[in-house]
Symmetry: C2
Subunit: 217 residues, 2 copies
């Protein structure tokens, strides 16, 4: 099990090249880190392995300097090459047991769950660091997602896994609903378009983080 | 450095889903192994990580039973999850030093080179198991390849790296030219369409292997 704090889940930016609207990912991540992002996930589905590693190293320099974890989506090879702090896997990615074996005991590993049954299964995964409840709201970011959980679905997942399991909510989260997902039981929110597509990613990040902290008070 | 024998390079089948003409990859590999293939490379560019691992495990059971190495193209994460014997990387994949670090000292690692300069650089890569001279002939298999080396280019690469470096030729190799690539200095040939698209992949493999052995006599 990795060295993940609950605080690191509070505002988790997930990159998306298309939703960054032509701006370099490094610029978006730099701004989000300045705005107070607590964790960064690099998600790339199209670029080749060498480019992915180069990008990962550049972004890791930013997150490392800020003292926040970098998590790579899906690709354990990239995470290992870059020296990222962790790996995020979905239901179509590597099985958790394989990921833990390859990444080692110190890595942060998170797993997306799309329903209560998958959340329940996570309780048997030794050392799993967090689950990502996905998608809470419908989202244009990914086209292959399960039906939206809604706030009730998120509450049910929190209930099912109990208070010990760190839970981050993802999918369609923005300034208008981020307080609701925290109040529904998430430790934090993973945000894609509300940061990547923002006119000011740093400003958007700061506002979202304030809202999380407000909802936790 | 992995436990690669020169003999294992003699007839190296590289999978291609499209060139398998609708037949399952496992069927093609099973036939190639029956026909005497000496090594198998699994190359997948589209399928998701979980499917890739499942396919890799199925194919690894076939190669393991036959006592021949399974090499995964590009994806060290898949190679590690499957327990494959090695990794093949190209110039747009992970750097060799990263691959060796991640895969460990026992893994077989091969690297594609597209010209003499890249072949020369391989001499400084400690523990590199083989180079793939690519493409020897023009090929419909990959659309992103460098200009064909031709038999002269292959001879020049062999001359440049010296007799100690195992060299496999790849690109457009079939029964009509496989003897020529061996005589030009390759230890073996990596074959895609001449096996994957053959009416009888087992028969094609057996014929190609006979031709390699004949050219080596």
């Amino acid at each position: 099990m990795g060295n993940l704090t609950r605080q690191a889940l509070e505002l988790y930016i997930v990159t998306d090249r298309i939703l960054s609207l032509g701006r370099p990912l490094t610029e978006i991540v730099r701004a989000a880190v300045e705005g107070g992002a607590t964790m960064v996930q690099l998600r790339e589905k199209e670029c080749d392995t060498r480019q992915f590693i180069e990008l990962g190293r550049t972004i890791h320099a930013l997150t490392h300097a800020a003292g926040i974890p970098l998590i790579i989506n899906d690709r354990a090879d990239i995470a290992l090459a870059v020296g990222a702090e962790g790996l995020h896997i979905g239901q179509h990615d590597m099985a958790y047991a394989d990921a833990r074996r390859i990444m080692g005991p110190e890595a942060i590993i998170g797993l997306s769950v799309e329903n209560e049954e998958q959340a329940q299964e996570c309780l048997s995964l030794s050392g799993l660091d967090y689950i990502g409840a996905s998608p809470v709201f419908s989202t244009p970011t990914k086209t292959d997602t399960a039906p939206a959980l809604g706030l009730d679905g998120l509450r049910n997942i929190r209930h099912r896994v109990g208070p010990e399991m760190p839970v981050v909510a993802i999918g369609g989260i923005n300034l208008s609903n981020i307080r609701d997902v925290i109040r529904a039981g998430a430790d934090g929110a993973a945000v894609v378009s509300a940061i990547c597509s923002a006119a000011s990613p740093a400003g958007a990040t700061a506002e979202l983080l304030s809202a999380v902290k407000e909802a936790k008070r």
